[in-house]
Amino acid sequence: MTRVLVPAGALGLGYDREALERGVANHPDIIAIDGGSTDSGPSYLGRGVSKYSRASTKVEWRELMQARAKAGVPLVIGTAGTCGADAAVDWLFDITREIALEEGMKVKVATLKSGQPKERVKAALGGGRLHALPAAPDICEAVVDDCTNIVALAGVEQVAAAIATGADIVIAGRTTDTAIIAALPVVRGDHAGAAWHGAKVGECGALATTQPNSGVIQIDFDATGFTIEPMAADAAATPYTVSAHMLYENSDPFILHEPGGHLDVTRSDYEALDGRRVRVEGSKWVPGRYTVKLEGARIVGYQTVGLAVVRERRYVQHVREWAADIEAKVRDKIIARMGLAADAFNVEIRLIGMDATLGALENRHDVPVEVGILGILTCPTAEQAAEAGKILNPYLLHHPLTEDEPMPTFAFPFSPAEMQRGALYEFCLNHVMELDDPLSAFVLETHEVGHA
């Protein structure tokens, strides 16, 4: 039997402190928490940075390091620093070292890095060992070369190797969400289908319970299945909350692909043991070819955005034609005055209050009280984007609907009304890479930090 304590769906999201204490008192074999995902977009991977504040991360990580010391078991984090790039692992390692010194702890830390050298990825591409997943973008060597960061998602093999170093703390770069929870049960010989399924249910912390914000859950894995129990006093896991969690952020609610195989929950059976615990059996692990998924991000331009608000009724009623006219005029002026080719940059105005969320798919056409005018300029360099923003600015302030009317002035929420957004990143890989040796594409190191 293996008992895994999951404090929250992600480090930085917060959790119920009493529930964490209860979990620690229950003698877990390991504490595992996720540190990120792709869900906040490509900029984090592109820059190799965390989305959460360093201060918040340090507060929560300190509490988890204290909980770990109390429980006397390993603490594992996967996808450290939101994106799991090598720089994000270094960032969390740095925080860990600070805390260890401040707390007078002496800890052994294993770092597992997932960053991929471009040469390895290009060799896999050239050797036919890189395979596109459904809806993958087209790639070539140049796309790989353009990436500022490429990571491979580690599975249980790599995480287990990190745990096997005897580390007190494992800081892993990009891993699958499930691998950090499934690793110990799998290597200890618990039911493989249960290990992966329980890990999937647990990877978002208490999201699979009636009190998602309480964070803390405990999962017991054994030879035939797993049992999930939330640690917050007022939270309950029910067969519905647990089975419905397979829907969450999964394109297929029954099959989950992982390194070295896939999980099939088609025949899983969910049983309420009491009012708050659920037992799951019948999940199946189907071994397959050993591949790891890759994620990569590259810079495709630099952006300046401008924001104004149109409140005057006549302008609101005619805002589409007004915005289209500004787009055309700004485009012409960027070509004429900055000398950029027409296909080298992009001018777009989104109408907040009209269709800024759904664009062409919007099918409601109510007339709003006011419209937010979000001008987005994308250029090859940051300097050009800043220049283009200054060309847009006077139009957002004063552009008249017709030529023979008094000059209007629109509401600027601040000065200047345009903001430099920096680089625009795109995810450009949705591929898996074959590996003969799961550890060959990852870098595992151990470090002693702090002092007793």
């Binding site: 792709t38 869900d39 089975s243 952020e249 999964n250 609610p253 495709v300 777009e348 798919l361």
Partner: protein, 100 residues
Amino acid sequence: MPELGSLVSKVRSKNAGPFWLTIDVFCDDPTTYTRVREGLKDATVARLFGVEQQLLKRFDIPALNVVKFSVPRPVVQGTRADRDMHGAGWACLLEELQID
């Protein structure tokens, strides 16, 4: 005809990775589930999200009273044309769809 959102407990859309969008329709009971399952036509849903019908994945899950759709994201997450980083806004299209 009522809007789907008025019949069900929740319509949720979320990214399933940067390249896919998944939409879950949670019904409260088997009667509503059956009505929603019958009322939601693949062609209509594909058109609503601007994707080809053969790329639409559909899961009718009576055990949960859930109808689930997955589509390649109408716009890849985070690209210049993306308007909704987490993909939650697309649920409104289905929520406001009138069904029999």
